[in-house]
Symmetry: C3
């Protein structure tokens, strides 16, 4: 090696920070009793909305995700012979690679579409005809499209499962599953018979416009006893911060929802701070709540964790990356294992992995 | 599940309609006696034109396709260790995914090129140099290019097989193979010693301009006794409906070819109706014969089947999808198995699958 | 087959010319004694610059590449369960497919990014955040970017290895490794105790601007006894033909470097002629040295070999392709095996392949 400085530059450590290790997933794994029947049901369902789940199914999905995360190299042939059609008509690298990594880690093959303009859709082909094509070519579809209605149209013709990976401003249910999985990975006690104190959730975002926020709020409804309060922080007036019916649904399930435009005031009581500044609208995005941001000097509770669906902008400072508040990297990592769990169930391979361990 | 309506929306059935089941491929499988020698020959041939086949080779290809279609999960490792270079310089999702699905179902790996502008060709690299690169990187090439001459130029330098997956307005032989495979899947008796009545084929399209039609007409020449008449329907005058020599070739092989501009008059006698409205010319497409279309009220023969290379436009109404005339979905599905058969032969793996069953 | 002329056109031979066979790699394999420790070190290093190697590591890499090239079908599951992130933000087909072919031949899976505009980077995401994403999704990254600094930025956050596959005008170390591997494949005696005559290297190119040339010159420093002279041919004045420090580095390691603007004068003494005319600058390329070109009438030494990183332009005539001077095709082919060797080490699978044979 010519240059000792260069030697230092090219060296790297494979060690992961602790929150991304296997201690937390193992705790979550032990907190939930395995019950495969709830996962078997998923084999005949598309994944369209956070509304479609029930509590026991969610718990079993989290359990399977934790099993995968605790044993990342143990299930590498579970999806052998299965083909994923990864159709990202709205371009995305992060979500696409998360799904593709999940599928590959289980041994499956992938066909990717990363550009709507090269497809027959651009030339007027109907989405139902595209769906019929997918029936013949693959075993599962992941779709992202800026049109809210596309996934529904495909569902009408599909005989293989499809996952909604973001449909316009509507929903992004697997992101929400990953969010909630992270919270329970951090606090598995909340799912046991002797739960600790419930959580104050501070949600910096725009429920009416952000699909990640919409899908997460819906999932919270299955766990009202876990969340003492949900405080939505934004600078919008209440009248359009929520879409019609959105606030009512939350309250109907017993959640206490507050709103605020003062983040500094909400932070000191928050156990979980979820922050997002981007909303996908049509073929571009808008930023909301630019006045809010988190950094190492924010008045965070001592043991609070921060979640962010990523990619981030200025709302989340990198000076938090090295702190114990950073659970957003664990959240991104866990999303792969959560998706592995879901995909396994959709293609009817759950029974192959449930008896292991 | 929150909402019973939603529960209904996300549920789906995996069951396939009957024409796409395994009864038909099994019948075709039994109608042809296995003879691997004809397939072995393909291991040293590029697939360039429908003209290059002979009748026994076609029959063996159809037989192997039928074997795959009747046992779709049985050959998932036949192409292990083989790499396909999927080069779609003219963008296409349907044909690309059909080939890639075929390759993946046999256990092979794939490298895709979906955009000519990212390649050295855009910067002046010769196709022969690209072909030399492909020699080093993969085991088989599938090429679509809007230039008619590209596949020939690559063939000069390739030491691995290439498949012409559409070269301008010239040919698309694997589509034609899939078309004919569908017809024999529907009527395997035509290949036995006790064939039923031969077929009247109605072909709505433009032989001089459409590569799918050109390649199909050439394949018909190997089975003149199967097709009593071929009636080409279009609103063009005969003088330019066919390319020079095209009609002569058909007649030389004993086919009776008629032309008509009146679809309603031709339909009542047609056993097979093939319809296509699009011709790929340069980097875009043109539509021909807009006045012709099929729907559930068309005067179809009771047991006639409809074929379409897809994607479709207004020429083929979706109200036919649920009828027994719909063999175009089976045709799209069968194209995967036909391509599996062809690809297996090209990379010298036929002997691995011929003794199974 | 209808047409005997067509039969001839579609037939092809799989046989490879001799320089691309296994005789040369076998000779190189025997010339180097296996010592796995040097390869084991690579498991904790990014591959960033030609400067980072040492001579024994290079020799072991060449040995492993030669083992792969001599037994191309023998290691097809060495990377099972490993995922490559192939990120070509600067579009490239040749280098991308070379890496992807290498990875697939060892049984690994791949996720490709072929267009920077579809990524979060285009929307302002930091490269460190992208790197953190890659940590979670894959086991190894290959990056090409027109920005010189991108790979360094990612290295700061990566806990999996990254390979610099071309960063602006700076470096392209794996191309240089493949170049040198080719030279030793041709003349393995140079690495033995009884070496033949050392080599005169003629390098037609622009060291200050071409990343392939820069990386190659750095590698020559590890083998000063092998190269009697290095003569750089270009029409630039010496003052800017080299970047600051570049010439000094070469001379410090004991290389005799000459410059010339007269190719015809240099050729008769050159054993190895390396030629390249393209420099990648920003998002496009420039051509240098248009007045220089090689063809079958060039005054080449009887047994001289020609290397070219490809793709080529007019500087290298195709009339040399069929001559024994053509080692550029062997160089392109060998690059796959060299990359296989490097990738195996980076993902800690070297011990799986070292004891074979």
């Amino acid at each position: 090696m010519v240059d000792p400085k260069l030697e230092q530059v090219v060296q790297f450590e494979r060690r992961r920070p602790d929150v991304q290790g296997d201690a937390h997933p193992k705790k979550l794994l032990r907190a939930i009793i395995e019950d495969g029947d709830h996962l078997a049901k998923l084999a005949s369902q598309h994944i369209y909305s956070s509304d479609q789940f029930d509590r026991p199914t969610l718990l079993q999905l989290f359990r399977l995700a934790a099993k995968y995360e605790a044993n990342p190299d143990r299930f590498s042939s579970s999806l052998n012979g299965q083909i994923l059609i990864s159709a990202f008509y709205e371009p995305s690298t992060r979500t696409r690679l998360s799904f593709e990594s999940a599928w590959h880690r289980l041994g499956g093959d992938i066909m990717s579409i990363t550009d709507r303009s090269t497809t027959g859709i651009a030339k007027g082909e109907s989405l139902m005809d595209v769906a019929e094509m997918f029936n013949n070519y693959g075993d599962c579809v992941v779709l992202r499209d800026s049109q809210e209605s596309s996934v529904r149209e495909m569902m009408e013709a599909l005989r293989i499962p499809i996952i909604n990976a973001g449909n316009g401003t509507d929903e992004h249910p697997t992101q929400a599953l990953a969010d909630l999985y992270t919270i329970f990975k951090w606090r598995p006690d909340l799912l046991t018979d002797t739960p600790g104190a419930p959580l104050n959730l501070c949600l910096v975002g725009f429920p009416a416009k952000m699909r990640t926020v919409r899908s997460l709020l819906k999932l919270l409804c299955y766990f009202p006893e876990v969340f003492s309060t949900v405080t939505v922080v934004n600078d919008k007036s209440c009248s359009d911060m929520f879409a019609p019916g959105q606030l009512e649904q939350l309250e109907q399930f017993g959640l206490t929802v507050n709103t605020s435009d003062d983040l500094e005031q909400v932070l000191p009581d928050a156990d979980v701070v979820y922050i997002n500044a981007i909303s996908w609208e049509g073929d571009s995005f808008k930023q909301y709540g630019k006045k809010y941001h988190l950094d190492a000097s924010s008045p965070l509770k001592e043991d609070a964790i921060i979640l962010h669906p990523l990619a981030r902008g200025e709302e989340l400072s990198t000076d938090l990356d090295g702190t114990h508040h950073n659970w957003y990297f664990s959240q991104a990592r866990g999303a792969v294992f959560l998706r592995m769990a879901l995909l396994t169930c959709l293609v009817k391979r759950a029974e192959r992995v449930l008896d292991v361990i």
